[in-house]
Subunit: 669 residues, 3 copies
Amino acid sequence: MAAAVSDRIATLSQGDGLVFGCDYNPEQWDRSVWPDDVRLMQQAGVGLVAINIFGWSSINPARGVWDFSGLDEIIALLHAAGIRINLGTGTASPAPWLTAQHPEILPVGEDGTVFQQGGRQGYCPSSPIFRAYAAEVVTRVVERYGDHPAVALWHVSNELGCHNALCYCDNSAEAFRGWLRERYADIDALNRAWGTTFWSQRYSSFDDVRVPGQALSLRNPGQILDFQRFSSDEQLALYRAEAAILREHSTVPVTTNFMVTAHIRNLDYWTWAGDMDLIANDHYLDRRLDDARGELSFAADLTRGLAQGAPWLLMETSTGAVNWQPYNLAKAPGELQRNVAAHVARGADGICFFQWRASTQGAEKYHTALVPHAGEDSDQWRDVVELGGLLERLGEVAGTRVAAGTALFFSWESWWAVENEGRPSEGLTYLDQVHAAHAALADAGITTDIVRPGADLDGYRLIVVPALHLIRDEDAAAIARAVENGATALITFFSGVVDEEDRVRTGGYPGAFRDLLGIRSEEFAPLLPGESVFLTDGTTGSVWTERLKATDADVVASFADGPSAGGPALTRRGAGEGQAWFVATQPDRIAYRDLMTRLAESAGVTAHADANRDVEIVRRTGDAGSFVFVINHGESAVEISLTGHDLVTDAPATGVVPAGGVRIIKEEV
Amino acid sequence: MAAAVSDRIATLSQGDGLVFGCDYNPEQWDRSVWPDDVRLMQQAGVGLVAINIFGWSSINPARGVWDFSGLDEIIALLHAAGIRINLGTGTASPAPWLTAQHPEILPVGEDGTVFQQGGRQGYCPSSPIFRAYAAEVVTRVVERYGDHPAVALWHVSNELGCHNALCYCDNSAEAFRGWLRERYADIDALNRAWGTTFWSQRYSSFDDVRVPGQALSLRNPGQILDFQRFSSDEQLALYRAEAAILREHSTVPVTTNFMVTAHIRNLDYWTWAGDMDLIANDHYLDRRLDDARGELSFAADLTRGLAQGAPWLLMETSTGAVNWQPYNLAKAPGELQRNVAAHVARGADGICFFQWRASTQGAEKYHTALVPHAGEDSDQWRDVVELGGLLERLGEVAGTRVAAGTALFFSWESWWAVENEGRPSEGLTYLDQVHAAHAALADAGITTDIVRPGADLDGYRLIVVPALHLIRDEDAAAIARAVENGATALITFFSGVVDEEDRVRTGGYPGAFRDLLGIRSEEFAPLLPGESVFLTDGTTGSVWTERLKATDADVVASFADGPSAGGPALTRRGAGEGQAWFVATQPDRIAYRDLMTRLAESAGVTAHADANRDVEIVRRTGDAGSFVFVINHGESAVEISLTGHDLVTDAPATGVVPAGGVRIIKEEV
Amino acid sequence: MAAAVSDRIATLSQGDGLVFGCDYNPEQWDRSVWPDDVRLMQQAGVGLVAINIFGWSSINPARGVWDFSGLDEIIALLHAAGIRINLGTGTASPAPWLTAQHPEILPVGEDGTVFQQGGRQGYCPSSPIFRAYAAEVVTRVVERYGDHPAVALWHVSNELGCHNALCYCDNSAEAFRGWLRERYADIDALNRAWGTTFWSQRYSSFDDVRVPGQALSLRNPGQILDFQRFSSDEQLALYRAEAAILREHSTVPVTTNFMVTAHIRNLDYWTWAGDMDLIANDHYLDRRLDDARGELSFAADLTRGLAQGAPWLLMETSTGAVNWQPYNLAKAPGELQRNVAAHVARGADGICFFQWRASTQGAEKYHTALVPHAGEDSDQWRDVVELGGLLERLGEVAGTRVAAGTALFFSWESWWAVENEGRPSEGLTYLDQVHAAHAALADAGITTDIVRPGADLDGYRLIVVPALHLIRDEDAAAIARAVENGATALITFFSGVVDEEDRVRTGGYPGAFRDLLGIRSEEFAPLLPGESVFLTDGTTGSVWTERLKATDADVVASFADGPSAGGPALTRRGAGEGQAWFVATQPDRIAYRDLMTRLAESAGVTAHADANRDVEIVRRTGDAGSFVFVINHGESAVEISLTGHDLVTDAPATGVVPAGGVRIIKEEV
């Protein structure tokens, strides 16, 4: 897939560099506004607009009633203006008549709550009735517009599984049983996989299996894990069903917008990516996090990983505040530019916004847009126009790649397994561990790829494996082989403990990595919230300790106090040509950065010398040259040693990046 | 209505000054206790008792079975003692047999939970079955007692909508559709009002509309807003149905007890007040609030606003602790007297308590009463007797009015709109904004009326408009006219943003007030909890900032830091004869007070010189003279400049109010 | 019962001292592991294993299908190894086929949520269908193994009522009505007991009564209290039904494992104990508590109280962390030994663990076990073997008794009543008050028995009555009689307030104890969280104050500030030969200890001189001698004055207990 993708994105921009786009919901506005919309799009350089995302109730307002007049008109208008279309299939939310007439479509929560119409995505993903009606919508849309010259991309549904990923209705239960029959064939295989001898849960027939609804006590973790897998697969099936219809009638690329972001965990995009003609992601700063912009960088790297290194499309982001967080902070001056630069730096070849014009009604009327409530005479709009200019100047960046010698492992299955019920500590949350490792790399100026278990590790000198709890034997072996062949690996606590079926490997933790690491852990000893321990090297750790023995490893640092006092905290083992390190606690941020620096040096991975916690630096390279993105998140100007032409100021690089500023330097050859 | 009300309350007290009353539930006690009850009522001077409030299961213990013997007896007993009766219709809670036999009456929560019998108010307000049975109860009661000479007031149901205001059952949904058909006639009108093009929510028929039950995502705010309106109307309809029956058979005034208090928000009493023959309110100190007694003052002022300035009745309050808050604090010494004085100061012509004798069983057995568990040999009872004496001495206050040159706007619709889903900040809560404005006025010694949007503003020199988010164009215009005619208005952030249908006014915030204020705000920039910003005048603000431009206004203070640093925070525009001020953050308490003082001075509104945060001063005036209520909430004695006769000590005013003390001074002419 | 119990436990250990046992779930492991299990059991000295606890789906994997082959085999294996069997009836959790085919068995929550299969204990306790199927399981098991020589104890179900104690389904409602008919016979008796005149709740027929499901408001506390009693009785009925079947076919003792622990409150074990052939308890350190090991000591004392002073069996505990708390902390070095010593010190004659071998799958795979995931080459296993040795050395302790001159009252009914809805303060939680009193005694070195209301108080010099809110007149009178006869009683606030039907006694608190104490309290005045008040003796109190008068008592200390300033806080009245004290607040921990020391001295109760907050000392005595358990929980070594032979070190006592150490000294005669 990867090879063709740059071309596909290039197509979206008509070969003219980076894509600048947005969601456009003209049905919310009087037709008299539409020409003004087009004028302003052209003023800002918007070249790709997504329409018909939530079109169902407009094009199919009642059972059997179809009305494409509005869509015809807007497509013609955009086409005439030379603006290309990212055409939604229109199935993101069923029209009210459908759920009113078929309430059995409504999704059901863990505790049996039937979720009502009136929001969005209010359907059971396994509902045959929903699927049939949705297929008709897609068919009508593609039959009508499949060969329209303005249509450049198909946008299947919208943010699939954002709200309705886990449905516990009878339709879902029936589909789950079908999925299990497929997976296990034999009920005894299911019994073994789920360990049903515990608590008298042995099944004699697939018919007796249920979805893991709310129970009085802890539930079966194998069942929960499989329900997560099933639920991700059901959403993917929705995509596949629509994509199949589209591809029957159209040759335009097909994708859907992923949600690689901190609060979405139910979709295993590693299994989805191969179905996409290009990878698109939605990303909004999450102000609920301690480090919202660190999460942005992580998400952008992970999106690039899903694209196998190829350019990708930021399908949705915001100019300013969103409206669905508890405290929807405005962006600080320059923050929009910094955010966009970070996405492009990490591989985005296009930046699209939700949405074109701020709604005056509906659930998201306080979500910012390209055209604010205040209208075009506003600082927000002037920023947008300026951003359009920058994206245009960055045109030659399109198609270049990020080069990284470091691989960071990420796994939705481990996310599910780590945060399953009955775990050692609620303080141990998967994403926080991954984010901490990614931030430590970033603080050390190290650019990293993000890879899936089983990835080809060739070319990676440094391999970081945070909390990779669930891992198959062969995937663990691949990491060991990479080390044997010369890589340096850092594996962190709770990794390798369980196999594909969430079964603990006996003989000592961390199971799959015990031999590689030359350690053997006998007992977990987590810490309370707010508690920290000292290590003998003067650093501190939090969240976790464990009672570890170094069977064939050097003890680099030990616990100086706390529940595992005296035992190893940081170990190193030479293995073949490489080294395997283990850390049994979450290092404080400075210690973690220093550890990454040490590992990178030993592994021969080059860090960006000027980068630090405040200064983000990433390089993209390709036929068009080498482009270094420098983003100064700090409150003081910084000096950098790079020279070349700065595409932000369109002038020679001065060696200084002002506070809050961005420099994108095309390096001299 | 207003004109006749004093007379009506005077009737309750038989012309003898203020009313002293209580709820009386003799059915909870053995008949042998009743004569003792009457003796003690007479000792304390209790003149009005509410009975039969929860009478249903006593007078109608089984389907078709009626037993009025107990009620006959207690009415006779009270009548013989010269005690007047506030007669409940008895429908506040259905008898268990009714919900047992008709479980379809039970109310349903947002998530589909069916609320069971066993508490109170356990019925769907839209249930035709409930309504039919309730009508029979009312009819039987009024037929029997409608012309009884002891009956002085009809008390419809009890605290209508306290618990069951929002019901999501199918009966409610059907009634909601009926209400919408009435409001919109045409489904397209509904679609426009709710902005249903957003998220594919367009309806083709009223039949497809549902109540806004729990959904997977944010719901339609227009639908939620109309459901609030509908729900308030349904409760009012319950009142009207009973009142109609009562008025058919009786000429005694009819009312129900409002709950103007911080935790009740579902009833728009502005639309109810006109149906009441007199305004009655229930009020309990809410210890969950930072400023419980400030809220008391606000609620009393709002109740007076509902009564259009006429005297009103405090239908329920407590002598000490309640039992339904998490921590039910006892009243401090003197606090009962201070609370009662505050209610009377702000227009109450009667003080009634829940309840006469503390229950020994049931859900509220730890709620204090006039006669405590300890019995008459108790400090509590002695305080009650003393209170009775004070109320008697205050007799000539009855019928006097509070005079205020300031109007504070309050709107339940804005409450609903501000706190709808998907708003910019959860830190922005309507009532807190209104309370802050009221407290600032009180701290500055300014007595204020509380008015509804659309109120006649004649005579008000100072107009305070806090967070009046939803306002109709014509109601905003009325404020502008008042300013043009010489008033000073203070409008606070988030006001004027949406119209009646919760639709944002485009072109810049604060929409409806933009021209009046001479400002244009482009973007909201709320603050995090605990965060504050400096203004250039050295004060601080919290909760909110926004990015504002003064298009035709003076910038009185700007933001010195924070997300809107450099922009205006406080503006002033001369408009016609008056001035229009805007504040874009929540000022700290001292700054807010100082701002009110400044505005009052400029507006020519006179403040009580001796009043401050600790010292509450309100004047009531009328034919009987001028009465100044001075309540010292502080821990030190204070000096005041007032002279006259003090009705508390029944002696000449000394110029000193002791710590925690109350003085009610009849001024010398 | 008491007399025979030591013998019964002795039988379990085959007369060989203390029992060392565990739960054993061989079905989770391949048969090839079983011989190794037996080898390791023998290595550690494990003599009693519980099997078939969750056997249902193994022995009855489908409707009508029975397979005892695995159970036959494991029983034979254990028997051959001389290991005795604690045989589960196998009904702890129904096999999935049963709830799949009979979903009407599933339990229902307060809000109507149907709890799904997939956890454990997923059945309605009142379900006739469940009961019928369970009876068949028990019958088959006892018919097959009832006279097997290895079976030493019957283990009915498992932790009955741990999760499903309160079920709100229609079956439960029907059973509740039956229970009420039995209790009240006449519906008017129920109306009186529940005070149904409040809020119109009068019933005319038992048919109209429902379970107290979620309501819109506070519910009827009498109904809730009776529902608690009923629910405890229903679980006991499950036990009785199984026990009856077992006793029909077997002469082996029958019991079930109690859960005397902080988070289980629905089972009134005082009413259960008489049905047990021996008392067994499950106990895990609860790390959510401030004082987890204090709770252990309390629970052990209460278990001994349930056993009427006879030895009892710790049926389940853990070697290290559990997995069902939010933060599952490992045990510190020596903590396992200290915990076990504390249980034995307080009367346990056997220590069993959940479970033998750590599961690799299922909901509790991160729960520690005797054999950890790491296997036998581990510190955890070596600790287990060491523990086995200690238990063997302690053999002669078996059958001895704890002697105490102090009685502490405990009542599940008071727990339910104190924490019913609508109480004065959510800060007042029953167990915290009882724990505080127990800790104060322990800190003062005073060993206490724990007794039920109505207990024979002969021989107790000191009687402690914390928050005994609900008490019958005759049970209060028994306490008064004990005082008259010379005992010293300490009664704490909120005691004695309500009678059996949760009805407040009028005339002043604390109702039932007013005369004995010579006080009269008129009003409660609870404190806010974090708030404390000073007493005139320089100590502090929290949680509560009240407005008290000493009518016939000495005021030992008064409130120096706070809402009851100036009133009595601690009173003493001489009554007959004894003294009755009352404390109206929760003393700080040091003050409470000092108070207990003072009371003990006055009562002539001897404290352990060397005991303190860190040093726990308890003595067991009997024909075999006198054994003093000294547990040093502190971080420094302590000196003790005891002499004799130390069974821990198997050497003469040295007078020193190291930090974290245990000494069990057989005293010289």
